[in-house]
């Protein structure tokens, strides 16, 4: 029961993130998603071995809910990026697109189940839509920091899918995902602040010199 409600809540956060127009909102959403994933992994606790659950809890609670959002918050303040996200298309339209994405992923997962693949429809569709919405956020936003956050939403989607699909995936892959998130954010953070020193602003419009 908790399992389904956590997933639904995660879906709601996805919808909300595609409509907020303030960076602070993005950071708060990310930490909420971290917490939801923590609850989600707890609900999977009984099927996993002890060691695995230990890493999972550490991973979701500490990294996704606390460390990463704080780090991003710190970067936003240090680079005093303007607090508002400048998306290419207005919020209302992106909300519609987000709902379309979620509905399509539901259709997809129902089709999968009908074709005989025993898959948990709700979790799979929400995780697929998280991935696609992550990409959508990256596509429709100018600022680099929003790209990083889009990428993190994508990571959360992948993490949820890995839990729901392949519960007995060996530990090293889990560690790999964690490593990916951590290193990605870390490196992007470094480049963002070095970019601040070389470029005047950190929105993506500066980054179009390399063309043909």
């Amino acid at each position: 029961m908790i399992h389904n409600s956590v997933v639904v809540l995660f879906g709601v956060t996805l919808l909300y993130i595609s409509t907020t127009s303030r960076l602070g909102g993005y950071v708060k959403i990310l930490s909420i998603q971290g917490i939801l994933l923590f609850l989600f992994s707890l609900s999977h606790a009984e099927t996993l071995k002890l060691g695995h659950t230990l890493i999972l809890t550490f991973e979701t609670l500490v990294v996704k809910a606390i460390v990463v959002p704080v780090f991003i918050h710190y970067i936003i303040i240090k680079l005093d990026i303007r607090r508002v996200t400048e998306p290419y298309i207005d919020n209302f339209l992106s909300l519609i697109v987000a709902t379309i994405i979620i509905s399509i992923s539901f259709v997809l997962s129902v089709a999968l189940r009908n074709a005989g693949a025993e898959v948990d429809v709700l979790t799979f569709s929400i995780s697929i839509s998280a991935v696609v919405i992550g990409l959508f956020i990256v596509i429709t936003n100018q600022k680099l920091i929003t790209h990083v956050m889009g990428f993190l939403v994508l990571e959360n989607g992948v993490f949820m899918m890995s839990l729901s699909l392949a519960s007995e995936v060996p530990v090293i892959v889990e560690a790999g995902v964690l490593l990916d998130v951590f290193m990605g954010v870390f490196l992007m953070g470094i480049f963002l602040n070095r970019m601040k020193s070389t470029f005047e602003s950190s929105d993506v419009s500066r980054l179009t010199r390399l063309t043909d």
């Binding site: 999968l112 696609v132 990256v138 596509i139 936003n141 790209h147 980054l207 043909d212």
Partner: protein, 672 residues
């Protein structure tokens, strides 16, 4: 066969040694000497082998196993390859002697690459040409075929700082690559699956009378037509031969075009009796090529461009000969087949001879006067008698005038056409007569072209202060040898026909009696030519006896005494009536350049301004096939320049789009 391989190896090592010695200071003579020696030895070896094969000896063959990628290579020097090998080696030898003399006259700094490397690529080209003639394995043939194109590609950009040869070379390489791709497709289609793609296996697929057999033949024909410089694919020949250095142009028009001809003849040999349609196709393409080639030659005023277009015209004539031969074979007219194919082979030999002389003479003119634009030359015969004499002989041969060899080969093609009388179908007769008319028109325009070239450049009064100087004996020697060969082949064609006898058998001609008959035909005609020479000599003798006192006076100017050299007819004015007549065939651009500068000083009272008028025409087929295609491709691709836009967001969008499409396809395929 091993001697043949040794000669090819000698040419290659000669090239390498020349390149190695190219670094030193006075390296021109050393490198030149080595490469000339190498080509001479190679030529001697090849000629010895070819003579053995051509006169009675049967084909020498050998198989070499090179392991994985190329597999078993069957090499065979049969009569058809032998005659072309002989031709290539002679042309190569004469060209290398010519190039070395040509380069020694040029300052070292004006070469794009050191002379030694130029010789290296020349030797590699010759070696690859000789190798291509003997290879019978399709993959190895293609490999050496493209290596030959590559080596010529390096020969073309020769003079430093000039950009046009560079683009000419690139045009050449790309055209050859397209030709090679077509050939590759043809080879794969013809080879039965799994076999190691030997030429002998192609004859089954080629000679089937069905449409697939015809389409396959046409693919082979088009693939080789690229190299032969036939009309739609001729732009490389014109560009390369005008921009390459002189010796190389001689090699290009002589040996390179022969490779294309050899390829077409090899296909004919493999095909046996093809459907009439392929014969008609070959004949029609060659007719168009011949007429358009010579018409464009009439427009040009640069000696080398004229000769380049005349090469295309001669390739057309040879194509007509092949077409006649094929039609004869498919309609069951053996004499027409023999005459057509013999005419084609004979003309290939003639073309290599007289075209060589023409290019080397044009080179000698360029070297001594610095330009090959005939409108700025004139009266060169007085200062360059040997070059003028050989140029006259070669142009008479090119116009197929009786005492020279060109007449014999066109005569063979004519009589082949006239033998097209068969009650079977009316089409072949009409095509035959139209072809006769086309070749006649072609001959007449060739006379106009070479009258214009020789007349304007060598005769009359020098139009500018460019006085020519006789080339060094090393350059004059090739000219004399080749023009004398032209005359001998014209007056005693039986010797050349003996050469052609074995290749004809190779081409699948069965009745040897008919070959004898064609030889007697040429014999009789050459007796007539001899008569012409004798009568003219007799009349000239009478004239010298009769003419007693020869007073000299200025040319009769119809009463106007201050005749200047500028009042002479120039090349463009000489051909203007014809050009106006055939105007719709080429786009002429008349430009009247009126500079903004003020009045002309010195004639103040009259308000005149210096007006410069320039008119030039360009080859609209080349413009259509090459330039237009390039423009269209570039404009289409220009529209796709948004892909690399620089925005990270766009890039992720591409990934998402690809993912969505493929995912949808996977699910759609999975569920249905």
């Amino acid at each position: 066969m091993h001697v043949y391989f040794i000669t090819v190896a000698v040419a290659v090592t000669g090239g390498l040694l020349a390149a190695i010695f190219s670094g030193k200071a006075d390296e021109n003579r050393l490198a030149a000497g080595i490469s000339v020696l190498a080509v001479a030895v190679a030529a001697a070896g090849v000629l010895q082998q070819c003579v053995g094969v051509l006169f009675g000896g049967d084909a020498i063959s050998a198989t070499v196993d090179l392991g994985p990628p190329l597999g078993r290579l069957r090499c065979e020097l049969d009569a058809l390859s032998a005659i072309f090998a002989a031709l290539t080696s002679i042309t190569a030898l004469v060209s290398i002697i010519y190039i070395t003399a040509y380069i020694s006259g040029m300052p070292k700094t004006s070469l794009t690459m050191p002379a030694g490397k130029h010789y290296m690529f020349f030797n590699f080209t010759v070696a690859s040409m000789l190798l291509v003639l003997v290879l019978r394995n399709a993959l190895a043939f293609l490999v050496v075929w493209e290596i030959m194109a590559l080596c010529i590609f390096f020969l073309i950009p020769f003079e430093r700082g000039k950009l046009r040869p560079m683009s000419g070379a690139v045009n050449f390489l790309v055209t050859m690559h397209v030709g090679a791709v077509i050939l590759a497709v043809a080879f794969v289609l013809a080879a039965p699956p799994g076999a190691d793609m030997d030429f002998s296996e192609f004859s089954a697929a080629l000679s089937s009378e069905t449409t697939s057999g015809t389409i396959l033949f046409l693919l082979f024909f088009i693939g080789f037509a690229f190299k032969a410089g036939l009309m739609p694919f001729h732009s490389w020949a014109v560009r390369a031969e005008t921009e390459a250095p002189r010796g190389v142009s001689g090699l290009l028009s002589g040996a390179a075009v022969n490779m294309g001809i050899y390829g077409i003849l090899r296909t004919v040999a493999l095909t046996g009796t093809a459907a009439p349609f392929s014969g008609y196709a070959v004949l029609c393409i060659s007719m168009i090529c011949a007429v358009f080639g010579i018409l464009y030659a009439l427009l040009q005023n640069d000696m080398r461009r004229i000769l380049a277009y005349s090469t295309i015209e001669n390739a057309g004539i040879i194509g007509i000969g092949i077409g006649v031969g094929m039609l004869g074979r498919s309609y069951g007219l053996p004499l027409m087949e023999v005459l057509g194919l013999a005419g084609a082979l004979f003309h290939a030999i003639n073309h290599s001879l007289f075209k060589g002389v023409l290019f080397y003479a044009a080179g000698a003119v360029y070297l001594s006067t610095g330009t090959s634009n005939i409108n700025r030359l004139g009266g060169l015969i007085k200062t360059m008698p040997i070059t003028a004499g050989t140029f006259l002989a070669a142009s008479a041969a090119a116009c197929a005038l009786p005492p020279f060899n060109g007449f014999i080969s066109e005569f063979l093609i004519y009589s082949g056409l006239l033998k097209a009388l068969t009650p079977a179908s009316g089409i072949i007769i009409t095509v035959g007569v139209i072809a006769v008319a086309v070749v006649a028109l072609n001959g007449a325009i060739t006379v106009a072209v070479f009258v214009k070239t020789f007349g304007i450049a060598f005769l009359g009064v020098p139009r500018s202060n460019l006085a020519g100087v006789e080339p060094s004996p090393a350059m004059a020697l090739p000219l004399i040898i080749l023009s004398v060969l032209c005359l001998i082949a014209g007056l005693w064609p039986e010797a050349v026909m003996q050469l052609i006898r074995a290749p004809l058998l190779c081409l699948g001609v069965t009745q040897t009696g008919l070959i004898e008959e064609s030889i007697t035909i040429t014999g009789k005609v050459s007796r007539g030519a001899l008569l012409l020479l004798a009568v003219t000599a007799a009349v000239f003798l009478v004239r010298t006896l009769l003419v007693r006192t020869q007073a000299s006076a200025p040319t009769w100017g119809c009463g106007y005494d201050s005749v200047t050299s500028r009042m002479q007819y120039t090349g463009s004015s000489l051909s203007s009536p014809f050009v106006k007549l055939a105007a719709p065939l080429f786009r002429r651009v008349e430009k009247r350049l009126i500079p903004r500068s003020a009045d002309v000083p010195g004639c103040e009272p009259f308000p005149t301004r210096r007006i410069k008028h320039a008119s030039y025409s360009f080859d609209f087929i080349e413009a259509l096939v090459i330039d237009k295609a390039l423009v269209v491709i570039k404009s289409i691709f220009e529209r796709f320049s948004w892909i690399q836009s620089g925005h990270t967001g766009h890039y992720v969008l591409y990934i998402l789009a690809a993912l969505a499409v493929f995912l949808f396809a996977a699910v759609w395929r999975g569920t249905t």
